[in-house]
């Protein structure tokens, strides 16, 4: 089966900066794929190359089998890109903007689909408003709408929820989720890792222009085995037998109460029972107790930190 996006040994340099250093990735049709990494990791450069906004120095990219350079017309028809920057054309209304964007893709008479997008993104009331008069959140919605006018099989969103309110996030993910269920491939970059964890079935992590992790979200989460048990002892210190489980060094006691807090790694939940038993046997009093499930943020920090 043809990959939705095939990225093969892509390199890109800006002056002294090697923005991408041999990135290879295949994103399958129908995937909800996350592209994560700290600022400057090369995510936006990679998206720009896929979208044809930048050219790779080396390597190839194809969208549904269409090379983004040699067969750019077919490649660009197959993809809809939501750019990170909040850009708009101040001369036009929302509807004019969307009609024109359809026209650029060779589509005329697209009003039924435009109306549906407007409805799904909560823009219907703003259809005839000039772009200048819209709030930032509304402009962001139009940006998403513009990427969808030609019903692209592949949708690429570059930090679509940066600085937007809860309502728009929910509206956006409901609509994008529906499109994904209908078979559209979705590629997402975001700094909100809980968003990526909830939405993406597979994730690539980029660091300094290289892929440092590429796996299903479930498999990535398994990399951090188990959870973290945080106990707060009213007085005294943790029994020495538990020190090998500490995930952080022992903390200083609280100046006013003398209480100490410890974070312990827990692989299986039944270990919690044994830990608590040992603390009780040592005659210590637990003041507070929390169990943190490992999440994508822990994995992200481990992977990004581990490679340094």
């Amino acid at each position: 089966m043809t990959a939705a996006i095939r990225i093969d040994q892509v390199k890109k340099r800006f002056g002294a900066l090697q923005a991408l250093d041999g990135v290879s990735l295949d994103i399958a049709s129908g995937e909800f794929f996350g592209l994560l990494g700290p600022n400057g990791a090369g995510k936006t450069t990679l998206i720009s190359i896929i979208a044809g906004l930048a050219r790779a120095d080396h390597g190839r990219v194809s969208i549904l089998g269409h090379d983004v350079v040699n067969d750019f017309r077919a490649a660009r028809r197959a993809i809809g890109v939501v750019p990170q920057e909040l850009v708009f054309d101040p001369f036009f209304t929302v509807r004019e903007t969307l009609r024109m964007q359809s026209g650029y893709f060779g589509i005329s008479g697209n009003d039924a689909w435009i109306d549906e997008i407007l409805h799904e993104l909560g823009l219907t009331a703003k259809a005839d408003t000039n772009m200048r008069a819209l709030s930032g959140g509304m402009k962001r919605r139009v940006l998403v709408a513009q990427a969808l006018v030609h019903k692209p099989p592949v949708i690429m969103l570059d930090e679509p929820t940066a600085g937007v309110d809860v309502e728009l996030r929910q509206t956006l993910w409901r609509f994008i989720g529906r499109l994904n269920r209908e078979g559209h491939t979705v590629v997402l970059t975001t700094h909100y890792l809980e968003e990526a964890q909830a939405l993406c079935s597979r994730i690539a992590m980029l660091k300094a222009g290289t892929v440092v992790a590429l796996d299903s979200t479930a498999a990535l989460l398994k990399r951090i085995s188990g959870s973290q048990l945080v106990v707060r002892l009213a007085a005294g210190s943790l029994p020495a037998s538990l020190h090998n489980l500490l995930s952080h060094p022992e903390t200083q006691p609280d100046a006013s109460t003398g209480a100490r807090q410890y974070a312990l790694r827990v692989t299986h939940h039944d270990e919690v029972e044994q830990i608590l038993a040992q603390i009780r046997q040592a005659g210590l009093v637990i003041e507070d107790l929390q169990l943190h499930e490992a999440d994508l943020e822990d994995v992200f920090i481990q992977i990004m930190g581990g490679e340094q």
């Binding site: 906004l53 054309d89 001369f91 026209g103």
Partner: protein
């Protein structure tokens, strides 16, 4: 074709929505030139026998308006889109470099014609014009507008800020049009400046255009046509190549 048509429509709508600035203002400016220069020089200058100075001036002013507005349209549209970032909406689409080139240049030509026509209609009140050979008028207007639309496109691609575009416009386009014989016949110039004028492609556009009105020109219209055509082909080649390579547009 739909992609090209849409981009053309967008470019037309863009200047139409700010018509005071893009159409009315240049027409008023050209009229002021005509009133002032015509008034001051009418009694003193006769360039072609039997043609009043005001009548001589009109085709020059019309062509100057066509040229400057054609340039202004493509260059300002492109630089605005680049600086505000909304050029991305065009770069993300399957529009080819030929479609982009044709749409930007054609829109620039249409704005140039609208201003030129406006200037001509209004000046008809002030001067008695003849139209000896309308075909030459149309051919030179078309080519002149196309050339300046193309130059605007190149300038818009090249410039990274408004300042650079203003330099292009004020130090290249405006002097080249003013020194192309809008207000005088280049034969009235000293030999050195006559030679310099002959190196200015804008001179041939205006001279050929004026020939269509009076049947008089400084250079044979066929010579002017050849030079102007070659100039257009070279500029178009440059513009299309820049678009194809994505020079300063796709990084």
């Amino acid at each position: 074709m739909t992609g090209f048509r849409t981009l053309l429509y967008k470019e037309l709508l863009r200047f139409w929505k700010v018509a005071t600035q893009t159409l009315t203002a240049p027409i008023v400016t050209a009229m002021l030139y005509l009133l002032i220069f015509g008034h001051v020089l009418e009694a003193h200058v006769q360039v072609f026998p039997g043609v009043s100075y005001t009548a001589f001036l009109v085709p020059g002013l019309v062509m100057m308006s066509v040229l400057q507005n054609a340039f202004a349209n493509s260059s300002s549209s492109l630089i605005q889109s680049k600086i505000t970032g909304n050029l991305v909406f065009i770069l993300l689409t399957p529009l080819s470099h030929w479609e982009m080139f044709s749409a930007y240049v054609l829109a620039a030509m249409i704005r140039g014609f609208m201003v030129g026509l406006g200037v001509m209609l209004i000046t008809l009140w002030f001067a008695k014009l003849s139209f000896v050979s309308p075909l030459w008028i149309i051919v030179f207007a078309l080519l002149g507008a196309a050339i300046l639309g193309t130059m605007g496109l190149i300038a818009g691609i090249w410039a990274e800020k408004f300042d650079q575009l203003a330099a292009f416009q004020n130090f290249l386009i405006v002097p080249a049009t003013f020194l192309a014989g809008v207000f005088y016949s280049v034969h009235s110039l000293p030999p050195f400046w006559l030679a310099v004028s002959h190196a200015n492609p804008f001179f041939y556009m205006i001279d050929g255009f004026r020939y269509g009105f009076f049947g008089h020109s400084d250079v044979a219209p066929l010579t002017s046509l050849t030079i102007v055509l070659v100039f257009f082909v070279v500029l178009s080649f440059i513009a299309v190549t820049l678009l194809k390579r994505g020079y300063k547009l796709r990084h």
